[in-house]
Amino acid sequence: MSRVSRDHVERKVFGVLRRVVIFLLLLVCLFPFYYMAFLSFRPLDAVLQDPGALVPKPGEIDFGTYKEVLTSTENGGQGFMTFIRNSSIVAVSTVVLALLVSIPGAYAVSRLDFFGRRQISAVFLGVYFFPAILLAIPLFVFFTRIGQRGTLSGLVVVYVAQVAAVSIYMLRNYFDTIPASLEEAAAIDGCTRLQAMRHISLPLALPAIASNALFVFMIAWNEFLFALLFLVENRSKWTVSLGLSQLSGSIEVPTTVLMAGSVILTVPIIVLFFLSERWLAGGLTAGAEKG
């Protein structure tokens, strides 16, 4: 009897608790981003006078912050247009190069039997657990020595190396799910290995490649440490992340203007995330079931 009532009580309690927890978690996850967007539309004076406001008052919405943050420095703005351009160049080049490198690599690891095939993914992933700051030191020295430290291309090469391992890992898992018999059939029809890869497996793997591209784009767009080490001396080369972090240290730029910068930095990522959320969530946890 007591057990039944315990069951009953617990169901009631956890039922209520569950709603409370979901509500609190949503609040904690979303509020900072709401607050970011909200502040970006408010004039600084209003924020200082009424810091507790949580909903826009009529007539208070102000797009001036976006204008200021995007205008070039020559015209008195913060020059985020340049940062957006730099970030886009870096992120898109990283995606293209990383895919060029990792699609063949993932295919090889998944399909072809060669010496060291099993070890190579382990090595790649193992490397991934070294602190980024440890890698940063020699790369900083190296790129300084060859005079490439302030360039976007140097940064792209570093990023490609950083994402290659994860990228191969994600793509390999997908190639593994494509039946090898399809390619064998093509081989009987006279296709070489590479032709079979191009005409059979690659088209089938397109969803995985697309989600991998988005994943790499997000990493490159968000990255901070290497951008800081490589590009900090030359403002015209700053990425959005770096620009925001550098400007937020100075008192001269109003917080609301920088909030507009934060929104500009965050929105592309959130949009991409919601476009690809289903694939990404699956890719990140692939293999989790095995424990």
Partner: protein, 341 residues
């Protein structure tokens, strides 16, 4: 080539140990297969080589180079003359390990990693449990919970810094007006130690804040993993427990939790490694001030502000070595029990 399907009767005889069958047809088959295998091997090397080269040049070599740098007296100023071969000595290590603040930074790193990992996994578990039963809009809620993890770290830290600002931050505003705080709390610049039951701890207010930030930012990762594992638990187990009259807490304790333990163990290792190595979050939130200087931030400080590359490299190596030791110990202790489950 004889096409023998796995079900053909000839195949079942082939299964027997067959030294006498080493005659013509199989040998020919093996011959063509080895041509194919050799081609595959060559194609394999060809296809993997771009990745291998870039990872070797941009990751493996730099790691080795760090080792070399750590034993040399290299500074930003004499960088152009320093080579691979120089005067090797242990000076950097002695300097780094005996320098004031190093042990402190190490303790801070440990506290940050342990509590940050616990916070992230705890929150992730709670979130996964709360979202376990289906309801309308669950997919959307799940997606929303991943946002802290995917959002750019610079934007996330900046908005936290603004929210926690003592002058116009929304947290301090409501803390003083609604919650009755006497003074605004300088969450990110207060070195005041947090006291627990009257005992002063190593944790400063700022360190606690960055730990909470780490929990907030990383719990979605744990949430994703745990949710994926929970979906794989067979429903019949819990149904049987329910028939036996197990209350929800008992079902969690005796059915769900044991199934999750291996996943939680893996998550702990992953999160611990990443938190231990974390640089961005603390650098952006506090710059390493007021009791939050972890070793990664200290390495950066040596590298950029002091220009002492050798000491920075030595410190990074010490960091990596300690991490390796900790992970090995962890696997020694928990690796076995994990297999048993």
């Amino acid at each position: 080539m004889p096409a023998s399907g796995p079900t053909s009767p000839a195949d079942s005889t082939l299964r027997a140990p067959d030294p006498p069958r080493q005659d013509d047809p199989p040998r020919r088959r093996r011959g063509t297969r080895s041509v194919r295998a050799r081609e595959d091997r060559r194609a394999g090397y060809l296809l993997i080589s771009p990745t291998a080269v870039i990872v070797f040049v941009m990751v493996v070599l730099p790691i080795l180079w760090t080792v070399s740098l750590a034993f040399q007296d290299v500074r930003l100023l004499n960088l152009s003359t320093a080579g691979i071969i120089g005067d090797y000595s242990l000076d950097n290590f002695t300097e780094v390990v005996t320098s004031p603040g190093f042990i402190d930074a190490l303790v801070t790193t440990m506290v940050y990693s342990v509590l940050g990992t616990a916070c992230a996994i705890g929150l992730g578990l709670v979130a996964a449990l709360a979202l376990r039963a289906p309801f309308r809009g669950r997919g959307l809620v799940r997606a929303c919970m991943l946002i802290p993890y995917v959002a750019p770290v610079v934007a996330a830290t900046f908005v936290w810094k603004t929210m926690l600002n003592p002058q116009f931050g929304v947290v301090n505003h409501y803390g003083t007006t609604l919650l009755g705080w006497d003074d605004p709390i300088a969450f990110l610049s207060s070195a005041q130690p947090v006291s627990l039951f009257g005992i002063q701890t190593h944790v400063s207010v700022s360190l606690l804040t960055v730990i909470l930030f780490e929990g907030w930012r990383s719990f979605p990762f744990a949430f994703l993993f745990i949710t994926a594992r929970m979906q794989a638990i067979p429903e019949s187990l819990e149904e049987a427990a329910m028939v036996d009259g197990a209350a929800p807490s008992q079902r969690f304790r005796y059915i769900v939790l044991p199934q999750l333990l291996p996943t939680l163990a893996v998550l702990t290792v992953l999160r611990f490694i990443w938190t231990f190595n974390n640089f961005d979050d603390i650098y952006l939130l506090t710059g390493g001030g007021s009791g939050t200087q972890v070793v990664a931030v200290r390495v950066y400080d040596y590298l950029i502000n002091r220009g002492d590359i050798g000491a920075a490299a030595a410190q990074a190596l010490v960091l990596a070595a300690i991490l390796a030791i900790l992970v090995t110990i962890y696997l020694k202790f928990f690796g076995r029990s994990e297999e048993m489950l």
